[in-house]
Every structure is written in C-alpha cells, then in structure tokens.
Amino acid sequence: MLKLENIAKDFGGLRVLNGVSFEISEGQIFGLIGPNGAGKTTVFNIISGLLKPSSGRIIFNKSDITNQPPHVVTEQGISRTFQNIRVFEDMSLLENILVGMHRLFSYSSVSMFFDLPKKKKEEKQLREKAMDILSIVHLTEKADLKAGGLSYGEQRKLELARALATEPKLLLIDEPAAGMNPAETEELMNEIKLINKNGYTICLIEHDMKVIMGICGYVAVMNFGEIIAEGSPEEIRKEKLVIEAYLGKDEKSA
C-alpha cells in the first residue's frame, strides 16, 4: 500500500535519514520504533508532505506522492496525528472534526449566504456523522466543549478522531500513548484495534513497548536515521541490534 524507496533527508550538512525503505501492506498495524532522535517523526513528515526528501521515492497505492504538498497527500488518503498535540484549541471538539471533514461539504457560497435548505441539511447530516466519529474515541459527551480544555489523553484521542474524519486509507499515528496513564493506554489500544478492524491501515510510532507488542503485526526499528531491523514483534524482541540500540552495548561483548 505504502512503499518508501531509499528515502534520504539532509538538514544542511546533517544527514538525518539514510536509505530508509519499508513497505506497509493493506490492513496492517505497522509499528515504527526506535530511540529518540532516530528520525521516526521525520519519516512521518516526509510521507505527509510537510518535508521534502533529499532523495528517494514514496509510492502510495501505485501513485508517486513524493514531493506532493500536504493537502494532496491527504486527498490521496493518508492522514496523521502529531507527536506534540496539535488540536484546534479554540474550537469545539465537534468543529475540530468538521474541519477534518471539510471535503465532504458540497454546498455553495450562495447556499451559505442565504442559509438555504441544502446548507442546513448538509450541516445537520455531517454534524451527525462527526458525532459518530467522536464516539469511536468516546468523546461524544464533550462535543461542544473547547478542545483546549481537554486533558492530555483526550486531546490525543481527539486528534486521532480528527485524522479519521479526513477519510484516510492509511493513518499515521505519532506516539499516541505519550502522556497517558495505563488505563487510558489500555483504552487507546482497543480503540486503535477497532479502527484497524474497520478497514484502516495504521502506521504507529510509539515508545511504549506494551502498545507495540500488543497491537502491531509488523515492526520496523530505526536508529540514527536507518532501518536496523524489521519483522514481527517477537522477532524484533530477540534481535541483538535492537537491544543494543535501546539498552546500549554490553561492555564485554563490545
């Protein structure tokens, strides 16, 4: 479904990504892990079009999306969340979702100006749909509150729902469990599994190994801008390079 071919990225003289290649197949929950600074978020930024790769290609559903601007990537069916939460704080939860759904609105500016039935009907229908999306992350009761007033974990969930509202085929989720307590994390894992079951392919950056081991079907490990290992969670757990990357090398064996 999504294929990265030899992606490299330089910031000035600093090479932050070097020959990154991996493939996500449809229906997967794909985990991207690695120590801080390994380049995981940079990979997301490049896929979503916020950064341009220095070299390499990105193929999504057989079309080349390398160097496409973010809104085109989203139209193609890739949506994402952010590591540092970025909800529209001054808007209500419902409005946040409606912004994500903006492409589904078809009424004209004339309908808007005269408040014609077409506009009213469409707004009503899509508001109901937005409520359905909010219900996936269990936030319907707070629909009319300002997003800025939510707790950390709730904002992350709202961001997830907002990304879903763009009707993606592939969902990139950047550290969803960061700042969540164990109970919230548990609920989040179930929600992600449910989203996946509903037909969304998911690519997940996460530090919480419990989440990765619990829900990912396939994992790629990054360190210093390169993919150092990939495979099923069980295989990865045993991989020597991965253990080294996370825990450091054993002095005797080094």
């Binding site: 979503s48 916020l50 601007p69 973010p70 809104h71 989203t74 139209e75 949506s79 994402r80 952010f82 970025r86 529209f88 704080e89 001054d90 808007m91 409005e95 409606l98 912004v99 994500g100 903006h102 492409r103 609105f105 009424y107 500016s109 808007m112 100006f113 408040d115 506009k119 707004e123 907002r162 763009t166």
Partner: protein, 301 residues
C-alpha cells in the same frame, strides 16, 4: 420662528435636525470605518496580517468616483465596480504574497500600498496630487446602513459554515490545516480578496460623501488606523472590529476641547487596552460575561 415651524414646533425634532447637521459626516464616517474594520477582520480571522486595505479602499474610491463622474454610471453600479476592482487586484497580488506569512506579509502589503499611493499621485486620470474634486454627493445614510448590514450578515453566516471553520483552522494552526487536506493558500487568497472588496465598497461610499478624494487618504497612516480598529476592538468576533472603529472614530469628537492633544487620547486608550484587555474590548468571553450578568450569577464570581 421659521425654524420651529419646519420642525413642526417640536423641540426634540429640532434638536435632532441640528445634531444631524453637525454630526452627519461623523456618523457617515463611523459606518465607513466599520466596513474598513470588517475588511481587515476577515484576513485577521485566518491569521494573516495585511496592511493593504487602505490601498484597496483607495482603488475602490477612485474607481467608483471616476465611473460616476466621467461615465455617469448609476451609483449602485459604480459601488459594485468599486468593490470588484480592488478584489481583482487582490486576487492577482494575493497569489504570490499569501505564501508569505506574519511580518513578511505585512511588509509586502505595506509596499503594495505605497505603490498604489504613488500610482494615484502620478496618473493623470486620478488627478495626481490634487486628487479628484467634485465627486457627486450620492451617499445617503440608508445606503451605509444597508451595505454594512449585508456585510455583517455575511460574517454571521460565515461563522457556522465550512468556509468559516476553514479560516479559523488556518488561523489556529496552518500546518495542521494543510494536513487536514485544506488548500491553505487558496482560502487565504479568498479571504484577502473578500477583504479588498469590502474595503473598496467602503472607499466608494466614502468618496461619494466627502466630495473630494486625494492619494494621501489611502497611504500608510490610514492603513495603520484600520489595523488599530481591529486590534482595539478585538479580532476574535466580528463585533470587536466594529466596536473598535466606532470608539476610535467618535473619541476625537468627544475630546475636541483638548484641541491638538485629542489624538494623543486615542494613543493612550490604545495603550491601555493593549495592556489590560489584550484580546480587545470585545472578546468571546464578553458575551459569556454579559449572559452571566443577565442570569444574575456572574457578578460575584
């Protein structure tokens, strides 16, 4: 005695008549400034600081004045043309400049304003530095009320629509908006163009009651004044800029006794508002507080 008869012997009517004769220009100006404040509000609503609205007002003023003076065009038509002309210009300059943001966009639009002013100064059709003299007096109070009413209605409709939400999203976080699939530049150009249209219509209405227009009315100073209306009033709701423009237009009249110092009062008030009401005199909380007071619960907490 004659005067009283005209007022049907009613002292109140007479008072109103003399008040109107003294202050009609001020009241007209309040409406025009209100429109200008709205014209910058829509660009601020999507987070863009544009200082080109005085120039757009100028383009609208000259366009509609020239149409009524030289072509004898009907007033309504020349007003619409006075809005369309700056809107077209905004569309052309908006596409490259709205890729800029923050202070860079402010600089670019300021530069554009200067170009427009110098053009007015040097073109023969605009009368050069002498400006245009003898613009027919066509603007009446009901025109102003009707036009500003339409603009306010538009902004109210905008608030709960797709377009309004998109502008707000761009204002809050442009990067996230683009990741939501929003063509941010496209919508910013639209906001800019609508702002230019509103400023142009305001310019046209203004030209048809001041009798005389000249390039200096559309230079740097009015550009900053327009921004001040919005900052003082608050940019989070459409009522903020309207309140700001009304206050700043009325105060110099109230403080007329201070003579040349009266403009300093404006500066002082602006300073106090920025210091103590950083969101302007009308913010979203204002309405909540008013509601609370009416519900009788808010005053104490």
């Amino acid at each position: 005695m004659e005067k009283f008869q005209r007022g049907k012997g009613n002292g109140l009517t007479d008072l109103i008549t003399s008040f109107w004769q003294t202050y009609n220009t001020l009241i007209y100006t309040i409406f025009v400034h209100g429109m200008l404040a709205l014209s910058i509000y829509i660009t601020l609503a999507c987070g863009q600081l544009s200082l080109g609205n005085a120039a757009f007002m100028g383009i609208g003023a000259y366009t509609s004045a020239l149409l009524t003076m030289k072509m004898n065009a009907p007033f309504g038509l020349s007003l619409i043309a006075g809005g369309m002309m700056p809107a077209a210009v905004a569309l052309i300059i908006g596409i490259p400049t709205l890729r800029l943001s923050g202070v860079y966009l402010a600089m670019a639009t300021l530069g554009f304003g200067e170009v427009v002013r110098v053009a007015f100064l040097n073109m023969s059709i605009t009368g050069g530095s002498l400006g245009l003299n003898g613009v027919p007096l066509k603007t009446e109070l009901w025109h102003l009320v009707l036009v500003i009413g339409i603009f306010i209605y538009f902004f109210i409709r905008l608030r709960d629509s797709r377009f309004g939400r998109i502008l707000e999203a761009i204002n809050e976080d442009e990067v996230v908006a683009s990741v939501m699939g929003i063509k941010t530049t496209y919508f910013k150009v639209w906001a800019f163009t609508i702002g230019a249209f509103i400023a142009g219509v305001a310019g046209g209405l203004n030209a048809h009651f001041t009798f005389f227009i000249s390039p200096r009315e559309y230079g740097f100073e009015p550009a900053v004044d327009i921004l001040t209306f919005a900052i003082l009033g608050g940019t989070r709701t459409l009522w903020g800029p309207l309140a700001g423009s009304t206050v700043l237009t009325t105060l110099p009249e109230l403080f007329r006794f201070l003579g040349p110092y009266r403009l300093a009062v404006n500066g002082l008030i602006l300073l106090l508002v920025v210091l103590y009401l950083p969101n302007g005199i009308v913010s979203k909380e204002t309405f909540k507080n008013i509601k609370k007071i009416f519900n009788g619960s808010g005053c104490l907490n």
